[in-house]
Amino acid sequence: APAEPALILATTTSTQDSGLLDVLVPMFEQETGYKVQTIAVGTGAALKMGEEGNADVLLVHAPSSEKALMDAGFGKDRFLVMHNDFVIVGPAADPAGIKGMAVLEAYKAIAAAGAPFVTRGDDSGTHKAELALWKKAELDPTTFSPDFYISTGQGMGASLLIANEKGAYIFTDRATYLANRDNLRLVILVEGDKALLNVYHVITVNPEKWPKVNYDGAIAFARFLTDPETQKVIGQFGVDQFGQPLFTPDADKTDADLGL
């Protein structure tokens, strides 16, 4: 067993809620003897924990914020792990008529129709991805009426429920949507666009900044995630339950391959 077995993994609620970590973490522990403490928090909080050395390794999905963290020198290594994709879901009645549209067209149609749209508003990876698309569509959501642009400040699952109740459109990751599908009457309206990739990276916290961090464990975990065996497991995860995989393994690709 390693000299310092305790390893703190800060990740986002969406990875935990999908159940993927419940599969991967025990594998890693068995292989290496590390004890992983998985802390599921908001993306912002996870990055902050890395920045302050309160976590050893991060598994997050907010590429632009991740880059800022790396540039500031708080992160040491950063590897691409996997991706899934974002979709726009909404009521089956589809009042703005966006079904099958490209994502930017769909945004414009929703704004034009003034149909209710739920946003997480919590600076999470998903929220940031959604905002980036508004920007690309040359719309400024801060100018929208709060009755139409509903900011929940909550996690994906809760926000989906609110959208469901309000009959609103919402930008979500596919995994969480699938996990909650039984409780929802929302259907997928926009999907498959290249702009809708949700990319996860693993980042080790820089021991030069924070001598107390367990770098050996962190790098071991990063290697484990990008190991071909593990990648195969990731590729199979969710098939049993949803009939389709929830994530696509990406360790053999580069950011550029995914358009980042």
Binding site: V41, G44, A46, S124, I150, G153, L161, I162
Partner: protein
Amino acid sequence: MTFDRELLQITLLSLQISGLATGISLLIGMPLGTLLALGKFPGRSILLSLVNTGMGLPPVVVGLFVAMMLWRSGPLGGLNLIYTPAAIVIAQVVIALPVVTGLTAAALQSLNPRLRLQLLGLGASQFQVVLALWREARLPLLAALMAGFGSVISEVGASMMVGGNIRYQTRVLTTAIVLETGKGNFDLAIGLGLLLLTITFLVNWALTWIQQRGARR
């Protein structure tokens, strides 16, 4: 809205919701607690246990339960209350009610039981007796009030669940704190926490002042 105005709006909403919830809990809980303390009926003891259990109702469970009632798919979906301040008030009443009821019962049970006989002997109706006993137990009843208010103003699980933490509509101080914590804005979160505590302190300071003016020393 500017940040300051939004903060003010959130703060006022928190006070309104928790104040209203506490008020309703008092309105129901004090008579109920009185009945449990003074009444004689079968099942009284079980009821008291249930009420005391209620003091430990987890807000998330309450939130989930109330939400399931109020969702469109739920039995009360037709009322369209989910994700409104009213929904938060309902959930908070469920949380504060057992606290107020249980502490009211404990407060009245520690009065001299013969005082009640003396009051009846002075010609008090049952209602007048209750009022007089409340007056007599005003010290522990104020503690019950403060515990009830404290339990709702600080509660987050239920507010989140049934209110939805929707900006400008149902975002209250505690849910804002959770949001900022999730964003990693720990300083802002702590700042909001201090604001919340200051408000609670001011409310309690006023109540404690009333309470201690009437303390037996």
